[in-house]
Structures are given as C-alpha cells and as structure tokens.
Amino acid sequence: MSVGYVPVQWNRQKRIYDAIVVGSVLGYLCLWVLCGKLIWRGAESISDEILILRGLGSCAFLLLTVILLIGPVARLDRRFLPLLYNRRHLGVLTCLIACAHGILAIGYYHGFGVDNPLFSLFVNSAGYRSFAGINFELFGAGALVILITLASTSHDFWLRNLSPRIWKRLHMLVYVAYGLLIAHVGLGALQTDRNWAFVFTVLVSVLSVSAAHVAAAMKEASVDQGTHAHDGWIDAGLEKDIPMNRARTVCASGGERIAIFRHADGLAAVTNVCAHQGGPLSEGRIIDGCITCPWHGWQYKTDGCSPPPFQERVATYQVRVVAGRVQVSSQPSRPQTAQSRSATHG
C-alpha cells in the first residue's frame, strides 16, 4: 500500500518470484538457442541473430499469455493467487524481452541498408496490396508501444496520479497488444515457415486465454445474487450462509458488485472493486479485523478506510438483517462518511 513511493518495493516473496521468473526465462532462451543450433548444423545452420530473435519473440508472447491467464485462473482457483501478487514484474520483464526482440529485428532486417531503419520499418515490409501481404511488423511495433506504455506506468505512483479508473482503462490495452501480436505472428512467421509446433503453441495460447476469461466471467455471473431491489434494498440471502470472515457478492441494478462480509462484530458491505487495481474484494478475507484484498493484500477496515497511516478508501453500503436474511442498500453510502455498519437485527 502506498504512503511513500520507492521504485521497487521488494519483499522476500517478490524476490523468490522474480528469481523463479528470471531463471525460467533464461532457461527458455538457452533451450531455444541450443535446440535451434543442434537441429540445423553446418551449412544448414540458422543465423544466430534470427535464432535469438525468434527465441525472444516467442518467449515474450508466452509470457504475455501467462500474464493474461493469471487473472482469470486465480479467480477459478485461488491457489494461483501467488502468481498474481507480483504480476507487475512479469509485465516489465515481458516488455524488456519484447524490446530486445524488436531492436534486434529492426537492426538486423532494416539496418545495413540505404534507408534509415525506422523509415524502412514502414516502407520496406509494406505489402499494402492484400491482407495476406500486409506489413506484419507494424502490428508488432504497435504491440511494443503498448507494452512500453504499460510497463512505464505500471508503478503505483502512476496508479495514484492517473487515478485508478484511468489507470485500469489504460492497462486494459494489454488485450489490444495481445490482439496485435496474434496478427504479428499470424501474418508474419506463421505465413513464412511451416513450424507446426509454433502454430500449435499460438493456437493453444489464444484458446486458453479466451476460455479462461469466459469461465471466470461465468463463475462471477453465477455467484451474483439478488439483483432485485425493493425500496432500495437488495436481498443477499441468509446471513448464516456467509462463512465467517468471508464475503458473498450481490450485483446492484447499475451493475456494480457489492461484497458483503461477515465478521465477528456483524456484517459489512463494500464495493467489490479494490481501490488498488480493482481486485475482487469479495474473494478476500477478513484478517486482523480488516478486509484484505486477494490480489496484493491491501486492507480496509469495515468502514471502508485503510488502517492508518494508509489513506485508501472504498465505497461502503448499508446492510441490515430482516428475518435472518441479509439486505444491502442498492446505493453506496458516500465513501467519505465512515459509518458503523453493525447489522441491525430486525
């Protein structure tokens, strides 16, 4: 959470996370280059630059696939939450690898000639004649611009200064980048060489990212309850059905999800959207009396305010229990007015 900003807030788990990721990436690149060198040797060897460039490109693509999978997979099975905790570092590393690929490609394919390499990128691979002949490298360049933008605004400093809403919108561009990459690979490498293993990898990647998102959305829709408001109150089921220190969600008619927690002193309802990066608070827990977000562990007291010295707030909702059934107000209380929401048993 944010009181002061340091470039990287490392802790033991982030260090382990980063070590595993960097080790895996180095292993991937070494295996790629080694295997490429063994498979075609002597007069038939692949140029080193192209071998490395392909290894970097495919590595960045796979990393981005994993990044996009972590969110929905962690919602389907919360044991994957540890992968989400430090996803930002994964994103920055992906960007660095993609940059290396892009720089190598521009230098090798567009350098050494009569044109400026960046100018060449636009004019010399330009088959604007037909869809199949289209300039696939510009799709890669577009994706790279997005990745660089996201990596350089990934820090919580930007989250705070751009406002979480704008930050979140900006970071949704990662899906645009993934789409551009599919075009980059589909209209480039896959149209040149018959590398079936790579075609298969791209297909499986795209299908699993799509399937995981659909499955997570379906799961989310299926847990939404009580969308009908009567006199401004939404029914949220039986109080005893909410496990201790955990939450249940309901969906207000405006589409906003509300997380209703049961804790030792009663019930508390807050928006489901974490003030940090919009993590699903309802999938969190109450720890030390605080609602704790499952994504990066930001905490809020049951009045929606973070414990001091932190100053984050989330919107709260009134809750009451009528004949054993929980009801939650369909309109948020103003987030500024911290109010006690011990349940009024009626």
């Binding site: 292993g27 038939e44 060897s45 392909r54 430090n86 009569v114 060449s120």
Partner: protein
C-alpha cells in the same frame, strides 16, 4: 484449500498447503514453457545450405561482365561466374565502364549455395582493381532460348546465398527490399522437391529489375520469361505484364 489458513497474502508467510501446491504447479508450468522452447525451436524448418565465408578473404582474377548485374568470370574457371556485391545491403557500385572486359583482381569474402557463387568485395580499390587494361579475348556468349513459366518469389541474392539464414519468405520481405534497393542483384526462387531452383531476374530488355516491381518482392508470384545462361549463371528475362501475383 478454501479455509482462511490457506489464504495467500504476499507480505505474510505463505500457508503450508499452498507451498505444497506451488511446488507442484510451478515446475509443471515452467516445464511446459521449456517444452515449448524445445519443440518450437526444434521444428524450425531448414534455412537452406547457403554459406557465407565471412572470415575468409580470398583473391580472384578474371573479367567483369554486366549481365545486367556485375559478375566476375574467373580466368581459370570462366564457367564459374561470381556475382559481385559490397558489404552490408549494397550492390557493387563501381566505375563499370573502366572495368568491364578488363582483367581485374577481386578481393573479398565468398558466399555459396549449391552451385551459385558470390563475392562480397572489400571496400574501394582493394576490392576490385584492373590488372591488365586491354580486353582479353572474347567474353562467353549467353545461351538458351527456353521460355518457362515459374512459381515462386523474388529475393535478394546476397541473403539467399547465405548472408542471412533463412533469407527468403514474408518475414524477410523488408530486408530483401532494402537489399535490392541498395543494388544487390535480385533472384527469382522456385521451390523444388528438395530445395530451391533460382535465376537472376531482370527486365525483358535485359536491364535490371525495374523499380516498379519492387513492391512485389517476397510476394508469391507466377512469372513467364526467357531463360539464358552465361558463365555458370542463369537469368530469366521477364516483362512486367508477364508477372502475376498469386
């Protein structure tokens, strides 16, 4: 797994059951990624058998012809013509009127693929200089009148003969265009059962490939033209109207 004791918070100690799960899941995930590296890297197709002897400076003696691209016909093996290019993506730009037909010495690094040969000349005088200024004998005549229809693509000869591997296909389009713009002789390559067959490609008038055709480089094409050979080098002469994008 769903009780609070196994809830993960990054800055708190990791619950035991979760550690056990991660010990299983992470190696599987990383193993799958490494498997992709092995399989995808191992399934890359052959980049062809061109070789660039880029550390092996050689000297050649012979005569230069423009056909329409510069070719050196060695004195001892006039049937083994070498295409001449400069370093980088540049064709040989020399004072041709002063060189053509004379006996010259060429110095540079050879490239070869199958029976096709090329020299990347050293820069300046050191790369190509006249040794006997009187024209020596007669130059070999071009033979062949065969008209053929071929399917394939236009590439640049330097990359295809070994400077870049692979040096063909759509991913190589930008590089091939840059090379041909820079004066590297263009080749037309056509797939055969066990590799490629290839010819220098030039206009129907025997002049270099017209600039208007550069946008078609690396695109799948069907072309029809006359095939000739001279000094072990083959070329196809094609009118723009006989080029059909596929």
């Amino acid at each position: 797994m769903d009780d609070s004791s196994s809830f993960y918070v990054g800055y708190l100690p990791v619950p035991r059951p979760l550690i056990r799960f991660l010990w299983l899941a992470l190696p599987l995930l990383v193993g799958a990624a490494w498997m992709v590296a092995l399989l995808a890297a191992g399934s890359q197709p052959s980049p062809g058998n061109g070789i660039w002897h880029d550390a092996d400076v050689q000297h050649y003696r012979g005569r230069v012809v423009l056909w329409p691209y510069p070719i050196l016909l060695p004195t001892d093996h006039p049937e083994r013509g070498y295409l001449l290019v400069e370093s980088g993506k540049h064709g040989a730009q020399r004072d041709w009127p002063a060189l053509v037909g004379h006996e010259v010495e060429a110095t540079g690094r050879p490239l070869e693929r199958d029976k096709a040969l090329m020299i990347e000349l050293d820069p300046g005088e050191a790369g190509l200089s006249v040794v006997a200024s009187a024209p020596q004998g007669t130059l070999p005549a071009a033979t062949g009148e065969e008209i053929r229809t071929l399917r394939g693509e236009i590439v640049d000869s330097k990359c295809f003969l070994g400077a870049m591997k692979p040096g063909h296909g759509k991913t190589h389009k930008a590089c091939a265009t840059l090379c041909i713009k820079g004066g590297i002789p263009p080749l037309f390559i056509s797939k055969t059962r066990d590799g490629y067959d290839y010819w220098l490609i030039c206009g129907a008038d025997g002049k270099p490939l017209p600039e208007s055709l550069w946008p078609l480089i690396a695109d799948p094409l069907e072309i029809k033209g006359r095939i000739e050979s001279m000094g072990g080098v083959r070329r196809i002469l094609v009118a723009p109207t006989d080029i059909r994008p596929l």
